[in-house]
């Protein structure tokens, strides 16, 4: 076969068999319009049925197929072979335990997502028959970019603070908390503040912005975290100056 091929070095780990993860190399055909996920699917279908990984939509919206590709956290369905050299290293996302091969245990993320109360906390319940809340395009624009998170975990894999401090709520969950705080329909900021402002990580989060750099949906969690800090600092001083003020 004279057609161009490339090598995939894929991290393998089966907790029932292996003491430690190791790399396994596969040779796959090169196609100009293939993404890395296509190449991995080729391995699964044609070369090695035992490889495990997550994927579904193949259009960068379900968030399943995040991996570390040549050192960068990336959605494998959105990483084109043409942008890589002929030898590509594929590893699971960092900062999470490996469940099997490229599959990570994401329990910690799921817990943190829930901990920020990512839902509307209404001032008072409004009946459905009373119609929708009015929200102008400008009000929507305040939080819209923070709604775009697909929970792909790339930002957790890239985050130096989460790597150091597992208690850190982390970029995606904080951005989501901020998204609801900014929503004109929401009155839950004070209940979220308990989790968000008191979280050890957020005050240590430097302005590195690794999270925003790897985000495939331009959510900019780093900006969200900085805005959360400013808002929380404001609350602190208001409490100090006006202790009678109800949050």
């Amino acid at each position: 076969m004279s057609e161009r091929t490339i090598e995939l070095e894929i991290l393998r780990y089966d907790p029932e068999q292996d003491d430690a993860p190791h790399l396994q190399t596969y040779t796959v055909p090169y196609h100009e319009d293939w993404v890395v996920l296509d190449a991995i699917n080729y391995v699964k279908d044609e070369l090695d049925r035992t490889l495990s990984y997550r994927w579904s939509c193949h259009m960068a919206v379900c968030g399943s197929c995040g991996m570390v590709i040549n050192g960068e956290p990336t959605l494998s369905c959105h990483a084109f072979l043409r942008d890589y050299p002929d030898r590509i290293r594929i590893e699971p996302l960092q900062n999470f335990p490996i469940e099997r091969d490229l599959v990570v245990v994401m329990d910690d993320f799921i817990d943190k997502l829930g901990s920020v109360k990512p839902y509307i906390v209404a001032k008072e319940e409004k009946a459905v028959d009373d119609g929708e809340y009015l929200q102008t395009p400008a009000e929507l624009a305040r939080f819209k970019s923070f709604t775009a998170c697909i929970n792909c975990l790339l930002c957790y894999s890239a985050c130096p603070q989460y790597a150091l401090n597992e208690a850190f709520v982390g970029p995606a969950a904080l951005a989501l908390a901020h998204r609801y705080n900014l929503d004109s329909r929401d009155a839950g900021r004070s209940v979220r503040e308990d989790v968000v402002a008191s979280n050890p990580g957020i005050w240590e989060c430097s302005f590195v912005g690794a999270c925003s750099e790897v985000c495939p949906k331009s959510v900019d969690p780093a900006a969200a975290i900085q805005q959360v800090k400013i808002a929380s600092t404001g609350d602190y001083f208001l409490d100090f100056l006006m202790p009678w003020k109800q949050k």
Binding site: R49, C62, S64, K117
Partner: protein, 584 residues
């Protein structure tokens, strides 16, 4: 085998499953809910829906409009009592999810905005840019976290319903992390597993859309209804099948052939101008548009590419600002996956398998013929979609009927309590576990999963595509029977208990074979053309013989038996479907 006791087990945690879970929790906070899914909820394929959700909210629209658009769009195969219920409940459900935080796109005055979609007399599609399904799913998932009654079992692959004497007693599922089979013993079960587009090779559907819930119900004796009706969406990207939303035509996009000609005017959808115009040309229904592509292809007027023939979807006249505001994802997808910027070039598109109108036979209350078993969403057939679903009715459907399933199941669980035949239930669950273990431990096997899957895909595309015939469907059915036999000797190579996707893919393939067989057989028996089911040998609709739902009944040894049931007609008698605009 560990038994997990719950009140209501919900299989599938996409839009319908999440909505059902919330409905149960709101109906009675004391009820225990097990929300079981083979993926984390936000990975569910609801996430990929783009254009929007239909519901009457504006003064220029009416329930009657939505009713008639839906019924005519479905070529009169919809159950009209179900459609009436659906269109009336639609605005309330869409408003409810607005209250839960869905970031709907807005008018300048703050009201929810609507856009036109295909086959609609008046614009009524609520949208969140072109990521409506994504926002709807995440809003539901995040809202579901409020309810302590909802316990999630993420990455559990459901294998079998446990039914004793016509009563559903629960479901068995593999915990993917450990490989262990669990029995979820429940007073009621809701199946909300979505569609089965993956039985075809070229589809907008994600890898997970393998029809598991449909197959599970089918094998447990619940008929699959109207399975011959498979919707081709007219605009998918060549190669990947990535969906380019109908919203892009709703915003004014046009379709042209290789000569730059708006060919839809040749297929009773014109005249082309003035444009845009409701229910005309590019805003005709999906079945008609996909069929028109097929005819253009026969005439040699499509454009050849490495990934099959295409036509061009041209958005350039909308301008960059409007494309960025209304269709940002379309632009990004086209740029990334085929290197085309719709601001400057037309997008190559071709019809792509998108939606299964058919599914688990339910009544208007989402109940099946097994007590305590409910179903909602794409895996179910109520039917509001008939022979061709109207674009933007499916997101609304999963809210309206997901909620209804949750309410129905909650009511049933409280009324009926736990099933009495414990021993039989456990023995059925045990047999389900044995089947999984047999597959897992099997050391012999000659057939490859990926090879057999490919053969199934090819057979379905060749035999049961946009246009079908006796010959093509007979060949397809024969092939499916052969594949079903060969599946019995499928080989498994992965012997790990942990996240064994070799095993899961084998089980998914089993589901797909059952569903595909039901589709092919139902299509073979329907000797008429209606909506998305077009027979070259029977080109006309036949209301005398086939104004009926088909019901495929499973057989362990043979092809499914095809039976029929009446369509509920209340206030719209079958008529000709007329498109081309209001003046026609």
């Amino acid at each position: 085998m560990e038994t997990i006791n719950t009140d209501i087990a919900i299989v599938g945690a996409g839009g319908a499953g999440l909505r059902a879970a919330i409905a149960v929790a709101e109906a009675n906070p004391a009820l225990k809910i097990a929300l079981i899914s083979k993926v984390y909820p936000m990975r569910s394929h609801t996430v990929a829906a783009e254009g929007g959700a239909a519901g009457v909210i504006k003064d220029n629209d009416s329930f009657d409009n939505h009713f008639h658009d839906t019924v005519a769009g479905g070529d009169w195969l919809c159950d009209q009592d179900a459609v009436d219920l659906f269109i009336r409940e639609a605005p309330r459900e869409l408003t409810r999810i607005e209250h839960w935080g869905c970031p709907w796109s807005r008018e300048p005055d703050g009201h929810v905005a609507v856009r036109p979609f295909g086959g609609m007399k008046v614009e009524r599609t609520w949208y969140a840019a072109d990521k409506t399904g994504f926002h709807l799913l995440h809003t539901l998932f995040q809202t579901s976290l409020k309810y302590p009654g909802i316990e999630r079992f993420d990455e559990y692959y459901s294998t079998d319903l446990v039914v004793t004497d016509g009563r559903c007693q629960g479901v068995t599922a593999i915990e993917m992390r450990s490989g262990q089979v669990r029995f979820f013993r429940a007073k009621a079960v809701i199946i909300a597993t979505g569609g089965a587009g993956r039985v075809f090779p070229f589809t907008t559907n994600g890898a997970i859309k393998t029809g598991d819930g449909m197959a599970m119900a089918f094998r447990a004796g619940i008929p699959l209804k109207d399975m011959e009706f498979v919707q081709y969406h007219p605009t998918g990207l060549p190669g990947t099948g990535i969906l380019i939303t109908e919203g892009s035509r709703g915003e004014g996009g046009i379709l042209v052939n290789k000569d730059g000609y708006r060919y839809l005017q040749d297929y009773n959808l014109g005249p082309p101008d003035p444009w845009p115009r409701k229910k005309a040309m590019e805003l005709g229904p999906r079945d008609r548009l996909s069929q028109a592509f097929w005819h253009e292809q026969q005439k040699g007027r499509t454009i050849k590419t490495d990934y099959g023939d295409v036509v061009h979807l041209d958005l350039r006249h909308l301008g960059e600002a409007k494309i960025n505001e209304r269709l940002p994802m379309v632009r990004e997808l086209a740029q990334s996956y085929i290197g085309v910027d719709p601001v400057h070039e037309p997008i190559p598109v071709r019809p792509v398998v998108h939606y299964t109108m058919g599914g688990i036979d339910t009544d208007i209350d989402t109940a099946t013929n097994v007590d305590g078993l409910f179903s909602a969403g794409e895996c179910a057939c109520v039917s509001i979609n008939g022979a061709n679903r109207l674009g933007s009715n499916s997101l609304t459907e999963l809210l309206v009927f997901g909620a209804r399933a949750g309410q129905g199941a909650a009511e049933y669980a409280l009324r009926a309590g736990t099933g009495t035949d414990d021993r039989q239930a456990l023995s059925i669950a045990g047999a389900a576990e044995d089947r999984v273990l047999e597959l897992f431990r099997r050391n012999t096997g000659s057939e490859s999963i990926s090879g057999l899957r490919r053969e199934m895909n090819d057979a379905m595309e060749a035999g049961a595509g946009i246009y079908r015939s006796e010959d093509s469907l007979q060949a397809c059915t024969d092939k499916m029977q052969e594949i079903r036999e060969r599946y019995k000797t499928i080989a498994l190579h992965d012997k790990s208990n942990v996240f064994n996707t070799d095993l899961i893919e084998a089980l998914e393939l089993g589901s797909m074979i059952d569903v595909a067989t039901a589709m092919a057989c139902s299509a073979l028996h329907r000797t008429e053309s209606r909506g998305s089911h077009q027979r070259l040998d029977y080109p006309d609709r036949d209301d005398v013989a086939f104004l009926k739902h088909s019901l495929a009944q499973y057989s362990a040894t043979d092809l499914p038996v095809i039976d029929y049931s009446a369509v509920t007609i209340t206030r719209s008698q079958p008529a000709e479907r007329v498109y081309g605009g209001d003046d026609k």
